[in-house]
Structure formats: C-alpha cells, structure tokens
Amino acid sequence: MAEAPETLSTQGLSAQGIGRRPALIGAVRWDTVVGALLVILIGVSFSTVGGFGNALNISFLIGNTLPVAAIALPMTMLVAAGEIDLSVGSTVGLSGAVMGALWNHGVNINAIIVICALLGVVCGLANALLVTRLGLPSLAVTIGTMALYRGVAQIVLGSNSVTDFPQNYLDFGSGRLGGSFLPTAVLPWLVLAALAVVVLHATGFGRSVFAVGASPEAAWYAGVRVKRVKLSLFVATGLISSLTGVFWVLHYASATYSNATGLELSVVAAVLLGGVDFDGGRGTLGGAIAGVFLLGTLQNVMSLADVSAQSQTVVTGVLLTVSVLGPRVARQVFARQARLQPMRGKS
C-alpha cells in the first residue's frame, strides 16, 4: 500500500538533492516565481489601486494576514515532513474560547496566555500521538480533531462573545508601531519567522524534516528519529496555533468559539501556493511566506477594487489549483527534458 508514494517521494529526493536540473529552466524555482509575483502585485497595486498604498491599508493588510502567516511557519515544516494539520483553525478557536472563559472567571491575563500556550501544546501532542503511535494518516486524524477542538470550544464558551480585555493588550493586538504601517504584533512574528527559517534550512533538524517527508523509511534507515521529528512539528504547530488564537482575540477584540473558522484552508492554500510539495520532502519557508502574503495582498486588492466575495473565492480557488498543479507539471516537464538531454543536464 505504501509502495507507490515511497517510490515517488524517493524520486523527489533525488531530484532535489542528487540529480542536477537542466540549466536553463531549472534555474527558475517555483518559490522564486511566487516571490516575484508578490513584488509585481504590490508594485502594480501601489500605482493603480486607489487606497492601497497608504500606511493604514498596509497595516490592515499585514494585520489580517498575520494569523495565516504565523501558522504557515510550522505548517510548512509539517507539510515538508509529509504530514498536515487541519485542526489549526479549531485550535485557534479553542484557545480563544478558553481565553474568554478564563477571563470571565477573573484569571490574570498573563496566566491565561500561558495556559492557552500549554493548551496548544496539548492539542498538538494529541494529534502527534494519534499519528505517530497509532500510525493513522494525519489528514484523517486532524479532520477528526478539527471537529473535536471546535466542539470543545463551543462547550467552554457557548455562544458568548467576550470583548472586555485590557486595553493595553488590545492595543498590542491591533495597534501599530509608532505612526508606521507595521502592526505591533509583527515583531514577535518576525522573531518566529527568523527562528523557523534557521531551524528548517540551516540545522540538522531541518534536513531531517525534508528527509522524513521525502521518504520516512529511508530517513529511518539513515538514523533520523522519524516519530520524534513528526511529534515536535505537531506540537510546534499546536503551540503557534494557540498563540495565534490569543492574538486573534486581541486583534479582533472578540473571544468566541467560532474564531478563525476555515483558517486551516487559508494556511494550507498559502503554503501550497508557496511551492511546498503536498507529498513532502520539498519546499522553502521563503516560498510559503511569499505565498501567504500573495494571497493576503490579492484579497486586499480585490476588495479595494470592489470584486465581489464570490469572485474572490473563485480567484483563490483557481490560484490554489494552479499552485498544486503548477510545480508538479513544471517538475515533470523538467524531468522529461533532463532525460532527453542528459549531457546538458550535467553541465
């Protein structure tokens, strides 16, 4: 049963690590394309879309994109390791619901944030154990826990909405640095992003993530602790999701059980758009981050241009389809050319 994907992803590993790409076309990578598209989109929007270029709008854009951008960091690693977590949106909601309920019970807000962080670790751990111990596919496990965490959130807070959090915390959630266009909350995100880039692209752990995603069996024979890698990625995803839940509550001044419904799809869409391979073993954080902001900017621009919500959904859907198919088709074309012209490929 596991034969087919194994073979495929082993091929992927060799394409990434061992085999050389054809010189001309292979030099253009998908994540570079996405990054370039983002730069072009921003440039064009600055000059042609009314209301886009001012500080207020840019801060709206970044602030609204931050939740997706935060969860995309661990999600990129998880997908690169061949797994996925669809329960992140529900973890955000659960974290917010718990935050609201505890606040209503008079708990100190700093204590609440620590509790929410621990809660995220527990959520991630539950996913991780179900996947690594029971050997269940993460897609199935996290579809289950997606419903479970959302249900618990509803039990915890009911249909209440808690809004009266302390003003300095709300300012952190929706405020800007000085008079600039940068939301305050972008600072911790930058720290996390830098950390994630280093961990994934410059450490042994990062290399083992790609190895696990390319072929867990080969990685295991090479001495990688496959389960441990996956477990730590799920836990990190849970933790970042619950902290995002705290940010969400402060950003929108609202703790409800339905916070961030459907966020998991935006995250997965952005990560895939950024060129991270759904089968694992391949992808970059830079690409994923570019994907996140490309989708965010596109939505912002479409709204400013009065594109209806339905058409926006269609555009996002087309982009997603392209992002899943695009890199794959491109790779097959490259692979065929490499086979046809082996000498040029080795230059």
């Binding site: 207020l56 606040w103 809004t163 009266d164 867990p216 419904t261 209806s308």
Partner: protein, 373 residues
C-alpha cells in the same frame, strides 16, 4: 500511509524533543515581551467604570437638507443569503429613491468575522459616506468601525447589533418584547387559550432566543393564559435534522400537546415538516418566526395557520434612510432625535441609539401570497 511502515520501530520512542521546548519558550517570551503587565477582569472593570462614557450624540439639525451624492455600503452577515438579499434590496430601493448610490460587499460565510472586519477596513479606505452593517459578532467589528467613524464615516447596524459604542444607530427589526409576547398571543388565539404547549428554540445559549422566550413566559402569566401550560422548551440548535427529531420527541413525550412555538426559521420549518408528515397534522398547532417562502406550502395545506416575522425589505429601507439622515447631519444617534424614512414614516431614536422598525408582520393564508423572501 507511509507512517504504517515505521510504527513498530522501538527506538523512535524517546522523551519530548528539545526543539519543541525551545520553540515554546521563544514564542512565549516574544509574546510576553510585547504585552507586559498583568491584569484581571475585575481590575479592568474598575478601570473601565472610572473612564468617561463615550458621548454618542454630537450636534444634529433635524431640518438639514438631505445631502446628494452619498454612497451607502451595505455589509450583511453573508452575501447571497436570501434574507439579506431582500433586506439589502430594500436598502437599494430607498437609496435609489433618494438619488444616492448603493453598494453591497460582504463575505460568503456567515461566520467569517475576520472577513467582515477586512470589509469594514476596505470601505474606510474607499471613503464611503456610510456603512450599514449586520454584525456577525458584537465585539469583533468594534476597532474597525471606530476607525471608520473617526474617518467621518457614519455607521448603522441593522438586524444584528455591535456594542453600542461602535456604531451611531442600531436599526432593530422588532423589540424582543413585541416578538415574544405576540407569538404567545398568536398561538393563544388559535388554541382558544387552553392546552399544553411547548417551545422549540435554537441553541440553549442563543441570547436573542432566550430574551424572546423570557417574554413568552412572562406573557403566559397573564390571566387569559391560565389554562395554557408551557410543558417543555426543546433545543434544535438551528439544525434541520435535530429540530425535526426534537419535534418528534416532544409529541411522543406529551401526547396531549396542543401547540408548538418555534421562534427560529430553521426550527419552525423542521417542525412543520414533521407535523405535515405525521398523524398530528392539523391537530397540533404551530407558530413562530419563519419566512414566507419556507412556510408557504405548510400554510396552504393547513399544517400552519399563521406565523410571523418582520419584513426584511423594510428593515433594509429603514437602515438606508437612517444612514442618509446621519450622513446629512439630520440625526447624530442621540436619544429622542426624529427623522423621516420615506413611505415608512417618521422614527424616533430610543435609548442607546436604537430605532425599531415596528411590530412584526403576521403571515397567514390571506396575505402570504404577497411576500417573496
């Protein structure tokens, strides 16, 4: 799939990895650095009570001329939702009559709060004259709406309110009291004021439902209802299947049941569907809040005699007139201010900036043909 292969390898079981701890620690540090200082609900409550109240009512000139060339944007809970299609079309009608511009934006999901916030921000960027919004969440829109108001944009909520400080006027469909009492009166008349009745509500925690039910229970205390007894409140969670099953359960549990009130459009439709296919059709009476299109066939075949709802088209019209009156400076949202809303007549702003459309409309076989929503 591939994880199956490695399931049995014992050396993968080790203690929690350090990388996770490092990530956890750095995340927490980052967060606590940027938002330091502790607070609890009680400490901020004290601070809030000493803070000056937000003053709503600025200057208003009831005789000011209606400005021309205004743009009023409707932001419903959900676009392409039949109910909001009707109400926003009402808004369009009123604005066209006044010679103003209408536009509608919104999310395709009724629970996409973040999407609603981002639409408010977009409208602020576009400098519309006024926003008429049906809030998915009372608190979530506040920051964005306050930003819009400080940019000079007038904000009206309709159908579903925000916290009062985050808008100028709330256009309410009907008062909770009128809705609750009139449903009991409607059923009482049909039952000749005697027999067991039950309520089929939405979620147990739904604030609007519970407010209506509170007024229903109070109405039932009046002497003319001495022979009418409320035996049970069931909850169908606004889920068609669950509401259907709850209706079935009610009738099995109380064979003497004479009437059901379902103050939710999903509940009343499911209950009517059950009654229609059961032996209780025409024997157990049903009323509540429903839409004419949902209930038409059940009124025509005699399962339901009458039910009620406000007219969403008029609600949208009133929201549009309110927005234009605000943008023209005729009102500012203060209690007691009055304005004219075209053919709907004159309205006075009540406490906390609430304008009420009026008594609910009762739909029965005599008038249901005139409504299409």
């Amino acid at each position: 799939m591939s994880t199956v292969l490695i399931r049995t390898t014992p050396r993968l079981r080790r203690k929690a990895p350090r990388a996770v701890a490092a990530l956890a620690a750095s995340g927490l540090i980052a967060l606590s650095l940027s938002a330091c200082g502790g607070a609890t609900k009680s400490s901020t409550d004290k601070a809030a009570s000493t803070a000056p109240a937000v003053t709503q009512s600025g200057s208003a000139d009831p005789n000011a001329a209606t400005k021309k060339g205004l743009t009023v944007a409707f932001l419903p809970k959900q676009v392409n939702n039949p109910y909001f299609n009707i109400s926003d079309a009402g808004g369009n009608t009123a604005l066209t009559a006044l010679g103003e511009s209408y536009k509608e934006v919104g999310t395709t999901s009724a629970t996409d709060t973040a999407g609603q916030v981002s639409y408010v921000n977009t409208l602020t960027q576009q400098h519309v004259s006024a926003i008429a919004v049906s809030a998915q969440d009372p608190g979530a829109l506040c920051t964005a709406l306050k930003q819009a108001m400080s940019a000079g944009i007038k904000v009206v909520t309709y159908d579903s309110d925000t916290d009062p400080g985050c808008r100028q006027v709330f256009v309410s469909q009907a008062s909770s009291e009128a809705l609750g009492r009139s449903e009991v009166d409607l059923l009482g008349k049909e039952l000749n004021y005697s027999g067991q009745i039950a309520i089929l509500s939405a979620a147990q925690t739904a604030t609007n439902q519970n407010a209506w039910i509170g007024f229903m229970q109070d109405e039932l205390k009046k002497p003319q209802f001495a022979n009418m007894k409320l035996v049970k409140i069931a909850y169908g969670n606004d889920d068609a299947q669950m509401s259907f099953q709850q209706t079935q359960g009610l009738l099995q549990q109380y064979p003497g049941l004479k009437g059901v009130i379902s103050p939710t459009t999903v509940g009343i439709k499911a209950a009517a569907q059950y009654l229609d296919g059961s032996q209780y059709k025409g024997k157990v009476l049903l009323t509540g809040l429903g839409t004419p299109n949902d209930m038409r066939s059940y009124v025509q075949d005699g399962t339901v005699k009458a039910f009620e709802l406000w007219d969403p088209g008029k609600l949208g019209q009133l929201a549009a007139y309110t927005a234009v009156a605000l943008a023209s400076g005729q009102i500012s949202g203060g209690q007691g201010q009055t304005f004219t809303a075209g053919a709907l007549g004159s309205f006075t702003i009540g406490a906390q900036g609430v304008v009420t459309l009026g008594a609910p409309t009762v739909f029965d076989s005599s008038n249901i043909g005139q409504f299409n929503f």
